[in-house]
């Protein structure tokens, strides 16, 4: 097991190095304009541009630039400076991160709490009216675009504008100060972000459970006299849950990397997703580069966590 983990970590580090190199080369090669000019912003004078060019080392060969960049990140956690926003890239990202973490964590917990039991029960009571109802409802939630769902939620429940004003509305996260206030402002966004995933996870678990419950070892458990509840949970779900774990790791990793942008926009939550969007709008290269790397980092880390969790759950995997 230890060797398995070490192997995975080393591969992760290698992946990060490769991704960073690729990102770096892309941003070096692709910009249609002079990177120094872009970094300087719209209204800079030629001297300023030259100063920036030299300060950023943009006149050095690419591999030297890459080396400097990586040294900055690894040693000082320094992602560079955004002239357009007049701030360190690192500060920009870290400022935004808490909001996204709030959003994603809450939504993940919610979609697990909603989706998993529904998946299990649907599988056990296959073809019953309950099963058919949940399958149809879940399809609806998967198909509904998340921004539409968000707007509908605001329309119905938001303070001030909603038909049934019970939750804080758009922009409430920014004005919230205490933890309970922050949580309150997140309730609608959590549900909106969780809706599609809950539906997906319910269907996924249902299908996984249906496969698992027809396995021979389930028959053995029943033949041993194990009560049906234990058969379902300790034998069935225990096996069926492993692909869900993989899915969860990937979903959370990707969301933290900025994929919650639509929800963040609808509810005006200043998260990483919004940062990605605005930096692309403004062609703010250092920031784009920074969030891409950050995102890759999250995804690789979560992949690693998922691999390790999988080996923990499935002992057959441990020797690879």
């Amino acid at each position: 097991m230890a060797r398995y983990i070490v192997r995975r970590i080393l591969w992760g580090v290698l992946m990060l190095a490769i991704v960073s190199a690729v990102v770096f080369v892309m941003f070096y090669v692709f910009p249609s304009a002079d990177p120094a000019e872009l970094r300087a912003g719209r209204n800079a004078s030629p001297q300023q541009v030259e100063t920036i060019r030299h300060a950023l080392g943009l006149d050095k060969p690419i591999y030297e630039q890459y080396w400097e960049y990586m040294k900055g990140i690894v040693l000082h956690f320094d992602f560079g400076y955004s002239y357009q926003s007049s701030a360190d890239v690192r500060t920009l990202i870290l400022d935004r991160l808490p909001a996204t973490i709030w959003l994603v964590t809450g939504a993940a917990i919610l979609w697990l709490l909603m989706g998993l039991p529904v998946g299990i029960i649907s599988a056990i009571k296959r073809r019953s009216p309950l099963d058919r109802a949940t399958m149809v409802t879940s399809l609806a939630f998967i198909s509904a675009p998340v921004f539409w769902l968000g707007l509908v939620a605001l329309y119905l429940f938001a303070d001030g504008v909603g038909k049934l004003p019970i939750f804080p509305g758009q922009g409430s996260y920014i004005t919230a100060n205490t933890i309970p206030e922050k949580a309150d402002s997140m309730i609608l966004p959590w549900f909106v972000l969780a809706a599609a995933s809950a539906a997906i996870y319910a269907r996924y678990l249902r299908s996984s459970m249906i496969d698992v419950m027809s396995e021979d070892y389930i028959r053995t458990a029943r033949a041993k006299g194990v009560p049906e509840r234990s058969v379902i949970m300790r034998h069935g779900v225990r096996s069926a849950i492993t692909p869900i774990v993989t899915l969860l790791g990937l979903d959370v990793g990707v969301l933290l990397a900025g994929n919650a942008i639509l929800t963040e926009t609808v509810f005006n939550i200043p998260g990483v997703g919004r940062l990605v969007f605005t930096s692309i709008e403004r062609s703010d290269l250092p920031v784009i580069q920074g969030v891409t790397l950050f995102g890759a980092f999250f995804i690789i880390v979560f992949n690693l966590i998922v691999d390790i969790a999988y080996a923990y759950l499935d002992p057959r995997v441990r020797y690879r």
């Binding site: 060797r3 070490v6 192997r7 080393l10 591969w11 020797y319």
Partner: protein, 361 residues
Amino acid sequence: MTDALPRAATDGLRANGEGGLLEIRDLVKHFPIKSGVIIDREIGRVRAVDGVSLAVKEGETLGLVGESGSGKSTLCRTVLQLTPPTSGSVRFEGQELVGRSAQSMRPLRREMQMIFQDPYASLNPRQRVGQIIGTPLRIHGLASGEGLKRQVNELLERVGLGPEHYNRFPHEFSGGQRQRIGIARALALRPKLIIADEPVSALDVSIQAQIINLLEDLQREFKLTYVFVAHDLGVIRHVSDRIAVMYLGKIVEVGPAEEVYANPIHPYTLSLLSALPIPDPRANAEREQIVLEGDIPSPANPPAACRFHTRCPYATEICSEEEPALLDYGHGHWAACHHPLHREHPEAVSEALPGLSREPA
């Protein structure tokens, strides 16, 4: 079987059959086991086939017997070059197969075909029966259109199915019928050699007899040579002219079928015969069954010297030190053992299978 001093096999090949349709010489197939932290290094090998020499005469049925890990299935696949051997030579009608390019193998593939064990896994579920049987003919450019259809229908009839089955899918058939489809497919190219890898093991007993009889009829009609792999000793004896017994990648005994069953030389052969449950209560009660202790060792880690010594009831010190060579005991009967049964434990043989008449040693 003579009692004279056995001649060593200088050439395991001539040992069991003069140069025939198929000549396998020192065939080795190892599967590397890789592991490592960053780079995979080979930490071991699964010695699936570890130096097998065998010859198959034209028109005969060679039975290949062995349990899990014996290498019999790997041997079949390696012989047909479905997987490249690690080393060794395979000659078909004198032509070397090992090392050939896919291109040059192609025409030879028409002469050698395979029937597989699992009738549920070996037919493409998305193809119709007519397609399954006709594809080989089409690929080799032997027939097309109406002529193709006609040939396929002929084959269907020959294996006991009918033209009404042409357009059906595999899942509409039972196990025995699927196996017939597999046989028709193998016959399509009129091969000289058919390797049947446990063709009846997955079938019910009453269907097994049908398929075995069919295979025998087809052998006569199409002048086929069979290599028949099975773990059921009763079936093997019924169909085979000669039998080779494999254990952990090596041949431990080979000879004419009746000989091997009546006068086994190698203790493993004896224990296989002894372990076989006979559908006859009296005969069972009379037997002195040899029940081997322990598990079959893994081919990744075979015992030293004689591979069977860890489970052999007659093993002595020499068995763990020196690997016995395949020696000729006369009449085409060869075995690799330091303590051949007919000389050292003749009573064990008569106790295992009392029903068979035995020649005096």
